[in-house]
């Protein structure tokens, strides 16, 4: 018979060194490239991607600050993200409430329909929307971008809301009804406070998703430039390397905030936001 130490019995075994090493190497692989962006934002070299940087300067920050095209692109991106998030919040919550409250014919189909825009490769969503706009003679505008973004943002809100609805007990709603509240009061004073943080988390993730989207946007934007489209132009034909470096760093910082926020809001639950991008 073999006996194991008490620690082992509690499942608190020590990890083998090789596993520790592989896990650490994997995490480094995930993070070092992003850290590199922060170094390049301050390099004095402006013609190539030279490593190590010959010197460091903060002048590119002010150069970028004074670039109207960057500001225009940023403004459009923020406007699109705000509008698509708002639409996704309404559509996603309605869907989640209907799917989690009752069993009805076609329930599975509805949840498949919500997931489809993100399950199929983005290029398919993009080219379908574009060809549909062409067929219907709809000119590209701010709203064509929003239309595309809202379509795939619904799923993020939906996932967060469904998970929270599942955790919310139905007897709370019955109690509210028993105490004389009508359906709208129940929604306002019982349901909404319960799902608020899940919606906030879902909304933040939808915002981050829309803010960063490029594949669908290239098909629905026409001549307009969102920030990711601006980045893409620079990636294909680099003209303003230092400015691109700074913009890349700012984008990383801006997307970190909603992610950390969404994590913070949902960390108590078994469902944590963001795992279903």
């Amino acid at each position: 018979m073999r006996f194991k130490g008490a620690a082992r019995l509690k499942g608190e075994a020590r990890a083998p060194m090789i596993l520790k090493g592989a896990a650490a190497a994997g995490l480094l692989f995930l993070h070092l490239p992003i850290l590199l962006i922060f170094v390049y934002a301050f390099t004095t070299e402006d013609k190539s991607y030279q490593w190590p940087p010959p010197g460091f300067t903060t002048k590119w920050l002010s150069v970028t600050w004074n670039r109207p095209d960057v500001w225009e692109a940023l403004k459009l991106s923020l406007q699109v993200a705000a509008a698509s998030t708002a639409m996704a919040l309404v559509l996603g919550t309605l869907c989640a409430a209907a799917v989690s409250r009752s069993k009805f014919f076609g329930r599975e189909t509805v949840s498949l329909l919500v997931i489809l825009p993100i399950a199929l490769p983005g290029i398919i969503t993009g080219i379908s929307l574009r060809s549909a706009f062409n067929l219907a003679d709809i000119p590209f505008s701010y709203w064509t971008i929003v239309l595309g973004h809202a379509t795939f943002c619904v799923v993020v809100v939906y996932n967060n809301a469904v998970a929270r609805f599942r955790r919310t007990s139905a007897s709370l709603i019955e109690a509210s009804m028993d105490l004389g509240a009508d359906g709208f009061q129940t929604f306002r004073y019982v349901v909404l406070p319960n799902i608020a943080t899940a919606l906030l988390a879902g909304g933040m993730l939808a915002f981050a998703l829309s803010f960063d989207e490029v594949i669908v946007t290239t098909f629905t934007a026409g001549q307009q430039q969102t920030l990711p489209i601006w980045m893409l132009e620079e990636l294909v034909r680099p003209r303003q390397r230092p400015v691109t470096n700074v913009v890349a760093m700012v984008v990383v910082l801006v997307t970190f905030l909603p992610i950390l926020g969404a994590y913070y809001l949902t960390r108590e639950g078994s469902e944590t936001a963001g795992s279903g991008k």
């Binding site: 073999r2 194991k4 019995l9 499942g11 990890a15 592989a22 994997g26 692989f29 995930l30 993070h31 490239p33 992003i34 590199l36 962006i37 190539s48 991607y49 030279q50 490593w51 190590p52 559509l91 869907c95 209907a98 009752s102 009805f104 509805v110 329909l113 489809l116 825009p117 399950a119 199929l120 490769p121 290029i123 398919i124 969503t125 080219i127 379908s128 060809s131 549909a132 067929l135 379509t151 619904v154 009804m177 004389g180 509240a181 009508d182 709208f184 009061q185 004073y189 490029v214 594949i215 980045m231 990636l235 294909v236 890349a248 984008v251 992610i259 963001g274 795992s275 279903g276 991008k277």
Partner: protein, 314 residues
């Protein structure tokens, strides 16, 4: 007795009767709730998807360049010419390679996070995967452009370690090599692996979290060495998670057209072919036929995955 509901009895009566009516007809309530989202997704999304798929059965007139709107399978036959088959084969091979590599790199991270990390470390692992997952796709690609550039950090490391010869020898290998890393399949592969890796880690970790520790102890008690426990206990239980992750890595690689355009050789992938045909060439039917390829492959893949129980691990 008045109940202390905020905003209680002052409600207009029509709202109240509307609410009562909806309560009595739950079917109608569900219908009204679903109306907007289903109309949106059904008309905007499915509508455009079908309008695209229908166009794959049209064809383009070689002389005028106009689209002939009559049913034909000619466009699909065009898909089977060697040049286009090459594109499909290249993309599927890349997707498979990326998927296998992602599973190998993701497993230790997921296993450590699921079994050994506790408390603070667990949160750290979680955020450590979540931040790269959600940080900007283009910024990640851009970072690799910096890394793989001729004057970039990777070449610098190789020359600092006096390993330039090794790199040159590697780049000399046909197919996976090339003039430099940033224009080789190896470069494309590395970027794909990097960008999709978090999508593999999360489902594998979710599957591993559900493996009871006493199963591993039982296996050890029965005399299995750790390698045997891994092969016969852990791996089969983690498989649904790996399949679930592979759905993402496979599908995302199949549809991507930006990564191979920025880092890679000039040979096309499916996404780039779609983009080129719908754009400058104006050949929407062929572009549509090309998009059917990933849809069919993913449909088959999802069917197999469902049979292996991968969706429970999502």
């Amino acid at each position: 007795m008045s109940l202390a509901l905020p905003g209680g009895p002052a409600k207009p009566s029509w709202l109240g009767s509307l609410s009562d009516g909806l309560w009595r007809r739950p079917g109608l309530t569900i219908f009204l709730m679903l109306l907007a989202p289903v109309l949106w997704l059904g008309i905007v999304y499915l509508g455009s998807l079908f309008s695209l798929l229908i166009q794959s059965f049209f064809s383009i007139d070689e002389f005028s360049g106009l689209i002939k709107r009559e049913f034909t399978l000619k466009t699909y036959r065009e898909l089977l010419v060697p040049a286009n088959l090459d594109i499909i084969l290249r993309t599927v091979t890349m997707a498979a390679a990326v998927t296998l590599a992602a599973a190998a790199v993701a497993f230790p991270i997921a296993y450590y996070a699921a079994r050994y990390a506790r408390g603070k470390w667990k949160a750290l692992f979680y955020i450590g995967v979540m931040l790269p997952l959600w940080s900007s796709y283009l910024v990640k690609v851009y970072a690799w452009k910096l890394i793989l550039a001729k004057e970039g950090i990777l070449n610098w490391i190789f020359s600092a370690l006096h390993l330039k010869g090794v790199l040159q020898a590697y780049l000399g290998i046909p197919v996976i090599g090339g003039n430099s890393l940033s224009v080789s399949y190896t470069g494309t592969f590395l970027v794909f692996l990097y960008v999709w890796l978090p999508f593999m880690i999360l489902p594998v970790q979710a599957a591993l979290e559900r493996v009871p520790v006493n199963l591993l102890e039982a296996s050890a008690d029965l005399g299995a060495r750790s390698g045997e426990t891994f092969r016969h206990v852990i791996l089969p239980l983690a498989l649904p998670g790996i399949i679930a992750g592979s759905i993402f890595t496979f599908s995302l690689t199949l549809g991507d057209y930006i990564i191979p355009q920025i880092i890679g050789s000039s040979r096309l992938f499916i996404g780039q072919a779609v983009y080129a045909h719908q754009g400058t060439a104006g050949n929407i039917p062929l572009a549509a036929a090309f998009t059917v390829v990933p849809i069919v492959i993913m449909g088959f893949y999802l069917w197999v995955a469902k049979r292996r129980g991968a969706f429970d691990a999502l």
